[in-house]
C-alpha cells in the first residue's frame, strides 16, 4: 500500500449554475421566497425592506461580501436592517451600491451604516458616505468583535464577525421604536463594545471563482481563530472534543470582556455553513457548561448558522454582556428571512 498524503483537497461541489450568477440568483431566490419581507434591487445587488422607506425612521444599511448568508440580506425587515448590499463572494460591495441603498431607504431621519471591520468594507463604505455627504445624514459604526485578532498597531484591527448579527438586531429594534440617529448609533456602539467572538474551522470553504479550498487542513486538524473569509486562522491544533474546542473560544472571550461571576450574557453559537444543527447543539451544551462553571448566566441565546463562510465546517462563539436595555431590544419584534419573533 502506498502512503497517501494526509491533506485531502475537497472538490468543489455546489448547488450553482454559472459562478458569476451565484450572487444574483441567490438574491432572486431570497426575494422570491420572502416577497412580504424584502424586495431585491438586482442591478445594484441590494436587498431592501419591503414597504420601505419608512418616513421618520432611522434606516440601517449594512453589507459586505457574499458567502456569509443569511448575513446580511436575511436580516432585512421589520426591526432589523432596511437594506443590505451584497458584494461578490468574500468581496466588499462597492460604493455605488451602498450609495443606492442609502438613498433608497432614507426616511429623513438619517442612515446608520453598519460596517464589519475589514479594510475593503471600511474603505468602500467611507467612499459611499462621501457620495451622499450633505444630502443624507450618515453615521457609521464599525464592528470589531473578533478576539482572535490582536487589536494593535500591527494589524488592521479586529474583524467584525458574530457580534454584527446581534448589533443589527438590537440597533434595528431601537430604530424601529423611533430612536434618533444618535440614539441608535449609541446603542450600536454599546453592543459592539460588549460583544466578543472567536471561531474555528474543521474544514475550509471553497471560493467558487477559485475552485479549491482556501486552506487545507489535515484530517485531524482544526484551524483556530479563523475569520469568515476563509483566511487561515491564528494557529492550528489537533482535533479535540468539542468541550475543549469550546474552551479555546470561550476563554479568550470571557477574558477580553472581563466577564465576572453574576454577569448575564447572550450566548450565540454560530455554525460556519457546513456544520449541521445537531453539532451546534452539542457545542452549545459545552459552551453553557463552561459558562455555568464560571458563574456567568445565559440570559438569552441564539444557536444556528447566521454568519457563515460558504460551506466551511466549524463554529464560532459570541458573547454579549447584557443589561435590561439590550434584553428589551433583543426581545422586540423582528421579521426578517432569517430571524423572526413576536410578529
Amino acid at each position: 500500500m502506498e502512503t497517501v498524503i494526509d491533506r485531502k483537497v475537497h472538490a468543489m461541489k455546489k448547488l450553482i449554475n454559472r459562478v458569476e450568477d451565484i450572487v444574483p440568483e441567490a438574491l432572486q431566490g431570497l426575494g422570491a421566497a420572502h416577497p412580504d419581507v424584502v424586495k431585491i434591487d438586482l442591478p445594484n445587488s441590494n436587498v431592501l425592506r419591503a414597504g420601505g422607506p419608512k418616513a421618520g425612521k432611522v434606516a440601517l444599511v449594512s453589507g459586505g461580501g457574499s458567502g456569509h448568508e443569511p448575513l446580511h440580506g436575511g436580516f432585512v425587515g421589520l426591526g432589523m436592517l432596511d437594506a443590505a448590499c451584497a458584494g461578490a463572494i468574500f468581496t466588499s460591495p462597492v460604493p455605488d451600491q451602498m450609495e443606492a441603498a442609502t438613498r433608497a431607504v432614507d426616511g429623513g431621519a438619517g442612515v446608520l451604516h453598519i460596517v464589519k471591520n475589514y479594510t475593503g468594507d471600511v474603505l468602500n463604505f467611507q467612499l459611499a458616505a462621501e457620495l451622499v455627504a450633505g444630502e443624507i445624514e450618515v453615521a457609521t459604526v464599525v464592528t470589531n468583535d473578533d478576539v482572535a485578532v490582536q487589536d494593535s498597531l500591527y494589524t488592521a484591527g479586529r474583524r467584525g464577525v458574530g457580534g454584527t448579527v446581534l448589533l443589527e438586531k438590537i440597533a434595528g429594534a431601537h430604530a424601529e421604536a423611533g430612536g434618533s440617529l444618535a440614539d441608535v448609533t449609541a446603542t450600536a456602539v454599546k453592543v459592539n463594545a460588549n460583544a466578543r467572538s472567536m471561531g474555528l474551522a474543521l474544514t475550509s470553504g471553497i471560493v467558487p471563482a477559485a475552485g479549491t479550498p482556501n486552506f487545507d487542513l489535515g484530517d485531524d486538524e482544526v484551524e483556530v481563530g479563523i475569520g469568515i473569509h476563509g483566511e487561515p486562522g491564528r494557529r492550528r491544533e489537533k482535533l479535540a472534543p468539542v468541550s475543549d474546542l469550546a474552551e479555546w473560544l470561550v476563554g479568550p472571550i470571557v477574558d477580553d470582556l472581563a466577564l465576572k461571576r453574576g454577569d448575564s450574557v447572550l450566548a450565540f453559537v454560530n455554525g460556519m455553513g457546513g456544520t449541521p444543527l445537531i453539532e451546534l447543539y452539542v457545542a452549545y451544551n459545552s459552551v453553557a457548561t463552561i459558562l455555568s462553571g464560571k458563574g456567568i448566566s445565559i440570559g438569552r441565546s441564539l444557536v444556528g448558522s447566521y454568519i457563515t463562510s460558504l460551506e466551511m465546517a466549524g463554529f464560532s462563539v459570541t458573547l454579549l454582556r447584557l443589561d435590561d436595555d439590550l434584553v428589551r431590544w433583543w426581545d422586540a419584534p423582528v421579521h426578517t428571512a432569517a430571524l423572526r419573533w413576536a410578529v
Binding site: 466588499s92 475589514y118 475593503g120 468602500n124 467612499l127 485578532v149 488592521a156 477559485a210 483566511e231 487561515p232
Partner: protein, 219 residues
C-alpha cells in the same frame, strides 16, 4: 497621450486577466483568495467602457487623457470592491488630477507626478506606509526609482522601465515582511514567507505601462 493611456489600460487588463489565478492564489495564502478575480472584474469593466467609446473627447489630448484615467479610476471604484477597489481607484483618480496639474511637463516628469499622487492617495486612504506588506511596497520603490532615473536625465521609456523593475523587486521583497495592514495582518507571523498579492498586481500594472510605451508592447 490619451491613446497611450488607453493602450496601457488595455494591455494591463490583459495582463491582469492572464495573472488573475496567480494573484488569487497569492491572496488565498494570506488573505481571502479574491484579488485576481476582483481586479479582473475591474479592468474588464474599464475595457468595456473603452470599447463603448463613450468617454468624451475634446481637442485637448491632455484633457482626454485625464478624463480617460479618471473614468478608469471610477470604474475600479464601482466594480472591484474589497480593499483594492477603493485603493487602486483612488490612485487612478489622484494620478488623473496630477496629470491635469502637470500641464505640459515632459512625459517622464508627468509620470513621476502621477505616480507620486497615486502613492499619496493610497497611503492616505489605507493609512499604510512602506514595509507593511502592501501594494505600497511595490509602488514606493517604483516611485523612488522613477524619480532617480528622471533626475539622472533618463528619457521617459527608461523612467517607466526603472519603475517597473523596482516594482517587481519590491513585490518580491514583500515575501519576508510581516503584514501589518489589510487582511494578511490577521495572520501575524504566519503572513511571513508569502508575496503580497497587491504588490504583485501593482508590479504587473507598471510593467504593462513600460511595455505599452516601449518598443515591444507584447514583451
Amino acid at each position: 497621450m490619451r491613446r497611450a493611456i488607453e493602450a496601457w489600460l488595455r494591455l494591463a487588463a490583459g495582463r491582469i486577466h492572464e495573472h488573475a489565478p496567480e494573484l488569487s492564489a497569492l491572496d488565498a495564502a494570506i488573505g481571502d483568495g479574491d484579488h485576481g478575480t476582483n481586479l479582473d472584474r475591474g479592468f474588464g469593466a474599464i475595457v468595456a467602457t473603452l470599447d463603448e467609446g463613450t468617454i468624451p473627447t475634446t481637442d485637448s489630448d491632455l484633457d482626454d487623457a485625464v478624463v480617460t484615467l479618471r473614468t478608469a479610476g471610477k470604474r475600479l471604484i464601482s466594480t472591484v470592491g474589497g480593499a483594492a477597489g477603493p485603493l487602486y481607484g483612488t490612485a487612478f483618480l489622484r494620478a488623473s488630477a496630477a496629470l491635469a496639474a502637470a500641464g505640459d511637463a515632459a512625459p517622464g516628469a508627468k509620470f513621476v507626478a502621477a505616480l507620486d499622487a497615486a502613492v499619496g492617495g493610497i497611503s492616505g486612504l489605507g493609512k499604510a506606509t512602506a514595509g507593511e506588506k502592501t501594494m505600497l511596497d511595490a509602488l514606493i520603490p517604483a516611485l523612488d526609482a522613477a524619480r532617480s532615473a528622471l533626475a539622472a536625465g533618463a528619457e521617459s521609456g527608461a523612467v517607466l522601465g526603472a519603475a517597473a523593475d523596482a516594482a517587481a523587486a519590491g513585490a518580491a521583497a514583500t515575501i519576508p515582511l510581516l503584514a501589518t495592514k489589510g487582511r494578511a495582518s490577521y495572520l501575524g507571523e504566519r503572513s511571513i514567507g508569502h508575496q503580497d498579492p497587491g504588490a504583485t498586481s501593482a508590479a504587473l500594472l507598471l510593467r504593462a505601462l513600460a511595455d505599452a510605451a516601449g518598443p515591444d508592447p507584447a514583451g
